[in-house]
């Protein structure tokens, strides 16, 4: 329903004389590949601009905790404040960047996901759906499809693969699968990310004890379940002993895809990311090449050795073979480090940033940013080749932009509230 409305609005806007954008909005020159048909019909339009509308999901207060999906006039400067500004969320939420929509999910009276889109220049709440299982991994396929993986946290019940129609915001298909479990040893395969390239769907996972303790008692090779897509048949499980478990609890970034459809995986191998005991294999990076369903035997980065003792907490592919990585150092014998990167307002923040060139296999630490406390999924947004991230600790929260070319971080807009949980953008035409 929303799509047709938007199309209508689009035509309407184009057939009118275009007013210049307001000062607040960021202008982006329209690309040549904008719909030619409409362009023919609207020859009187001298110039079409795409406007980026920014939103930041902010955990705005504690006692009670409240998340606000806050419009931001700029990511680069000023303060983004949820005071009197934005849409209050019903619970502790996760923010997903869709194609021209924002999807927000969390546990209200069941796991609930709601779509937001721009209508008449205003961010407007759309349809919602509920899942029966809590979702721990997801990926946007296209403007109308999203995949979510629901999982139990104890026992060997099937994990649900939900194919979501994001236009109607409903579950199109649910496929139950018990992939990856090791019932003989009492381990449950817990998903960390999902990605689709070509005609395959990849799901990374790690083992947790199935007894409900949420412990990670075993050392495990990097493991990915490979499904056909869109058939969703489990084809095989691939493992690689060069790196341990891929991703971390609720990271949503275990499988990052580059421009060529290759998937890079990162393995944290650290207490601070929730692995106790720490796997003996170093924190590292593997690759699944486009069209393949095996790890690339010729590609492996021993990140700990390369970086001089840092471990990976997150990896964001930015472009041109470069990734921004969020990293930490820890004392593997000190239990205080366990889960230490899940504290956005920590008074002892651990995380710093670096640039990893995946082609030359070189690492450069990023300068200009203070340490940050981390969190569950990470707020991230890429514009003009720069990555915008949340950096927060007990002393406050800000958005920083990281330039992978210069390996520098620059303080951008400040965040009023605890921290930014999602940095999001919807493009509209004017």
């Amino acid at each position: 329903m929303k799509k047709n409305d938007l199309k209508l609005l689009f035509c309407l806007f184009l057939s009118l004389a275009i007013f210049s954008c307001s000062d607040d909005d960021t202008e982006i020159e329209v690309n040549d590949d904008v719909d030619n048909v409409e362009e023919d019909e609207t020859e009187e339009v001298a110039e079409t601009t795409l406007v980026a509308n920014y939103f930041v999901g902010i955990e705005a207060a504690t006692d009670p905790t409240i998340d606000i999906l806050t419009p931001a006039t700029s990511l680069d400067e000023g303060t983004i404040s949820p005071v009197g500004n934005g849409i209050e969320q019903p619970a502790w939420m996760t923010f997903f960047q869709g194609e021209n929509q924002i999807i927000v999910g969390g546990y209200t009276s069941a796991p609930e996901f709601t779509s937001y889109a721009m209508v008449d220049g205003e961010l407007t709440e759309g349809e919602s759906f509920f899942t029966s299982q809590t979702v721990y991994a997801s990926t946007i396929i296209d403007e109308s499809t999203m995949i979510m993986i629901g999982a139990p946290r104890e026992g060997y019940a099937d994990k649900n693969i939900y194919i979501i129609d994001t236009e109607t915001m409903s579950i199109a298909t649910t496929v139950a699968s018990d992939f990856g479990n090791d019932e003989n040893n009492g381990y449950l395969a817990f998903p960390t990310d999902v990605n689709v390239t070509g005609d395959h769907m990849f799901v990374s996972y790690y083992y947790i004890a199935a007894d409900g303790s949420f412990a990670t008692p075993t050392e495990q090779n990097a493991s990915v379940a490979v499904f056909t897509y869109p058939g969703l048949e489990l084809e095989k499980i691939i493992e690689d002993e060069r790196a341990p478990n891929i991703g971390r609890y609720y990271s949503l970034t275990g499988l990052e895809e580059d421009e060529n459809g290759n998937i890079y995986t990162y393995s944290p191998s650290s207490l601070a990311c929730g692995y106790a005991p720490v796997p003996t294999t170093n924190s590292g990076i593997l690759r699944i090449n486009n069209g393949e369903t095996e790890f690339d035997a010729d590609f492996y980065i021993d990140f700990e050795t390369l970086s001089g003792g840092y471990k990976l907490n997150d990896l964001y592919y930015v472009g041109n073979g470069k990734a921004v990585v969020r990293v930490l150092q820890e004392d593997e014998e000190n239990a205080d480090y366990l889960w230490a990167t899940y504290a956005p307002n920590s008074s002892v923040p651990l995380l710093s940033y670096g640039i990893l060139d995946l082609t030359t296999e070189t690492y450069t630490a990023v300068s200009g940013a203070p340490l940050s406390g981390g969190g569950w999924d990470a707020a991230k947004y890429i514009e003009d080749g720069k990555l915008f991230v949340n950096i927060s600790s007990a002393t406050g929260a800000s958005i920083y932009s990281i330039d992978p070319e210069t390996a520098t971080a620059t303080e951008a807009a400040a965040i009023e509230g605890n921290y930014a949980k999602g940095i999001l953008q919807i493009t509209t035409e004017e």
């Binding site: 504690t62 006692d63 934005g86 209050e88 104890e154 979501i164 409900g212 303790s213 366990l338 007990a394």
Partner: protein
């Protein structure tokens, strides 16, 4: 347990003395029809002489020659104050007391009842005499909700969780006592929401400043429930029937031998309800993930509650060696089905079908009271209680339920309904409480008192499923709280000005451990804290006006449920620190009686300046507790009661509360400004009001019968349940709520037979308390009561 034994020794010493008596003046106390009033009080003001009348209403008092002011009083009658001249020989003075009618549905006072004497203490105290409520289908919460400054929020039907707030502080910050004993140690089987009005004599509400005899840690005030202290033989039985298969019965009886004072007393009740009220829910089709466009009315199918209690005491009442010496044993239990997570927003899409909690307690009680012990000016009052409880919190279902009560076997039967692991937590708690209070009258205008209280708790348990609970509770955790308190009271200007100063020394000691989610790591936890609190309260009486002012620097230690959780939704937070508050109160009240009518007006203002607030933090459907810096509450409340021609009763109260986040900086880091600074604390009703009108017609059909009709209205202003300054559009809120209740009572044979019919929420309004979970709509109650004295 050494401390309880030292208390026993004190009691034994206290018992080994007895009292002699002489007689100089004698007389009789009767009602206006010359019917003797046994048990009435006669006090010679400004002296230590006081007594009570015998079964013929006769008294004798020893006084030397001179002029005295004698006060004769009896519960339910207006007191008489008379100046007399005592000469040598026998003096005879007879007092005829006029009946002081009790307002049925309102807090009305005329004459000087016990309640008013308490009100005239310097403390900011409200007293509700509950006599008039005994024929109604009410519980302690219903009665308290009519007091200005008090707001009660309940999550569902009969027996459901509730939170009481008093002048802006709420939950555990307000201590509730039964006859001076902290009520929370009686567990969930005995609480304000199931306490039958028939067991009550009065409820005292201390706002912000708590007298030392209620010696405990309380941040925001205290409520003392006084159970029936009737010293005669009586039988009081009632049975109530209500909507949603609610049955409430209470039996309260006492035998006392008038010669020896030997007494046996039973207090008991039984409550049960299915709570199967209907709620509208937009049901979800989990195949498509979509919820219905239209709501379906579905029934709460797993929300039943039942509780029972029996308290048998024996000993001596009003005997020569003790005003009260009773030993008793109490049994209580409680079974509560949990329909949905209490902290979900709105009705849960996936209800619980088998989650339950249950509790059993055996309690031994010992109490002793003797005024003017050894014929001196010393009053002693003491109690000792041992509470032994077993509680189970159970989430072990193999099934998933829908709102029609249909169930489906889960793929994996190792998980429960609440979270992805089952729980069967069994907790065993041993708790010893003791209190010793001594009060010494230096002279007629000066009085000192001391109070020692001890509260020692050991909690241990195991869980068949959840390792985290096993680790947390396998070794016993100990919590000991001790409070030593002293007070001095001075009366001046012919008792018109009274001042009390007091100080309290707190000692808090916990030894426990901290564990992680997996239960694999443990870290010992030992916290010892010593704190000193103090306070002052003053009152001045002038021409029917009373002015009160008080201050307390109050302290509260974390509660068992805050420290150790409940194994289900509340997670343990054993490292909590005590919270502190500076409480300021001022109030003025006015009383006037003219003919058959009376008027009472009161207005109060207060400030609660609190820090290290213990706050529940909801994360998902779980709750844990933190010490969150500072909250500032300011408030005013107002009440008016008017009785016209002994037939019409009007009552009105209103409360406005201003509760603000007082943290200037986030996370305590200077420079990191808090956008919530000075913003109203959410999810707390801040403006509410209550009004009622009653009409009472005695001798309607025949002598000694009476008919009463009353109607009341409650209003709660709309409030946000999240921070009001955040976000800009479509902020969800709890809408304003109007609830109307009506009740009719008919009594015959001088209240021997009573019938009442009540309708709660007459207009079937939507009533929300916790977040957006609906409470039951209109409910009907019928109550029959038989009382013989």
């Amino acid at each position: 347990m050494n401390r309880p034994f030292s208390l026993i020794i004190l009691f034994v010493i206290g018992l080994s003395f007895s009292l002699n008596a002489q007689n100089i003046i004698t007389g009789k106390i009767t009602d206006i029809d010359d019917v003797p009033l046994p048990g009435a009080t006669v006090v010679a003001k400004g002296t230590t002489s006081a007594t009570i009348t015998d079964e013929q209403g006769k008294y004798q008092l020893n006084l030397v020659e001179g002029s005295y002011t004698i006060v004769a009083s009896y519960l339910g009658f207006k007191s008489i104050t008379k100046k007399i001249q005592v000469t040598s020989g026998t003096n005879n003075f007879t007092f005829k007391l006029e009946e002081d009618f009790m307002a049925l549905d309102a807090v009305v006072v005329s004459g000087k009842s016990d309640a008013q004497i308490l009100r005239e203490q310097a403390y900011a105290v409200e007293v509700v005499e509950t006599e008039g409520f005994k024929n109604l289908s009410t519980n302690g919460n219903d009665i308290l909700a009519k007091i200005p400054g008090v707001n009660i929020r309940q999550s569902g039907g009969v027996g459901s969780d509730f939170s009481l707030s008093l002048n802006g502080l709420s939950g555990n910050q307000v201590r509730v006592f039964i006859d001076g004993i902290p009520m929370d140690y009686f567990g969930s089987s005995l609480s304000l929401n199931n306490f039958s009005a028939n067991l009550l004599q009065s409820i005292e509400v201390y706002k912000g400043v708590v007298p030392i005899h209620l010696s405990s840690d309380a941040l925001g005030g205290a409520i003392n429930i006084v159970t029936d202290q009737n010293s005669d033989s009586f039988l009081d039985f009632s049975y109530g029937l209500g909507s949603y298969q609610t049955h409430i019965a209470s039996l309260n009886t006492q035998y006392r031998n008038k010669k020896s004072g030997f007494a046996v007393r039973l207090k008991s009740f039984y409550n049960t309800s299915q709570n199967n009220y209907k709620v509208p829910i937009k049901l979800v089709n989990f195949e498509t993930g979509k919820e219905d466009e239209e709501a379906t009315n579905v029934e709460h199918f797993h929300d039943a509650y039942n509780s029972k209690m029996a308290w048998l005491e024996t000993g001596f009442l009003k005997s020569s060696f003790a005003d009260k010496l009773m030993v008793g044993v109490m049994y209580s239990d409680n079974y509560d089905e949990v329909q949905q997570p209490a902290n979900a927003i709105g009705e849960a899409k996936i209800p619980y079908g088998e989650v339950t909690s249950e509790e059993q307690k055996v309690i031994g009680t010992f109490s002793f009271k003797k005024n003017r012990i050894f014929n001196t000016k010393l009053n002693l009052n003491a109690y000792m209680v041992g509470v032994f409880s077993e509680s189970n919190n159970i989430d072990i279902s193999d099934y998933t339920y829908d709102w029609f009560g249909n169930r489906e076997l889960r793929d994996d039967t190792s998980v429960g309904e609440i979270e992805n692991r089952k729980t069967y937590l069994r907790l065993h708690t041993d708790n010893y409480l003791g209190n010793l209070n001594g009060e010494y009258e230096i002279n007629e205008n000066n009085n000192i008192a001391a109070n020692y209280s001890l509260n020692a708790l050991t909690i241990q348990g195991n869980d068949d499923f959840k390792e985290e609970n096993n680790t947390q509770f396998s070794d016993p955790s100990d919590v000991t709280k001790q409070v030593m308190a002293f007070s001095y009271t001075n009366a001046a200007f012919d008792n018109k000005l009274k001042n009390t100063i007091f100080t309290k020394f707190y000692n808090y000691d916990i030894s426990s451990l901290i564990t992680n989610y997996s239960g694999t790591e443990t870290e010992p936890l030992n916290i010892e804290r010593k704190n000193t609190g103090f306070g002052i309260s003053s009152t001045y009486l002038w021409n029917g006006f009373q002015i009160k002012a008080s201050f307390e620097n109050a302290i509260r230690f974390p509660e068992v449920s805050e420290l150790f959780g409940d194994g289900l939704n509340i997670e343990p937070s054993p490292s909590l620190l005590p919270e502190k508050s500076n409480n300021y109160n001022v109030g003025v009240s006015f009383n006037n009686n003219f003919g058959n009518s009376s008027l009472r007006l009161s207005a109060n203002g207060y400030i609660r300046d609190a820090e290290d607030f213990i706050l529940p933090v909801v994360e998902g459907i779980k709750v844990y507790h933190i010490n969150n810096c500072k909250v500032l509450a300011k408030g005013v409340d107002f009440s008016a009661n008017y009785v016209a021609a002994k037939k019409f009763f009007f009552a009105l109260s209103a409360t406005y509360l201003d509760l603000r986040d007082n943290n200037e900086w986030l996370n305590g880091v200077e420079g990191n400004s808090n956008s919530q600074y000075k913003v109203r604390v959410p999810n707390v009703p801040y403006f509410f009001s209550n009004g009622s009108i009653s009409y009472r017609q005695p001798n309607l059909f025949k002598n000694e019968d009476s008919f009463t009709f009353s109607i009341s209205e409650n209003y709660v202003h709309e409030f946000f349940y999240t921070w009001e300054n955040l976000g800009s559009s479509e902020k969800p809120s709890i809408p304003q709520q109007w609830v109307t209740n009506a009740e009719v009572v008919y009594s015959m044979n001088d209240q021997k037979y009573n019938v009442s019919v009540g309708v709660a929420n007459l207009l079937n309004a939507d009533v929300y308390d916790n977040y957006q979970q609906l409470r039951p709509g209109r409910t009907f109650n019928l109550k029959l009561r038989y009382f013989i004295n």
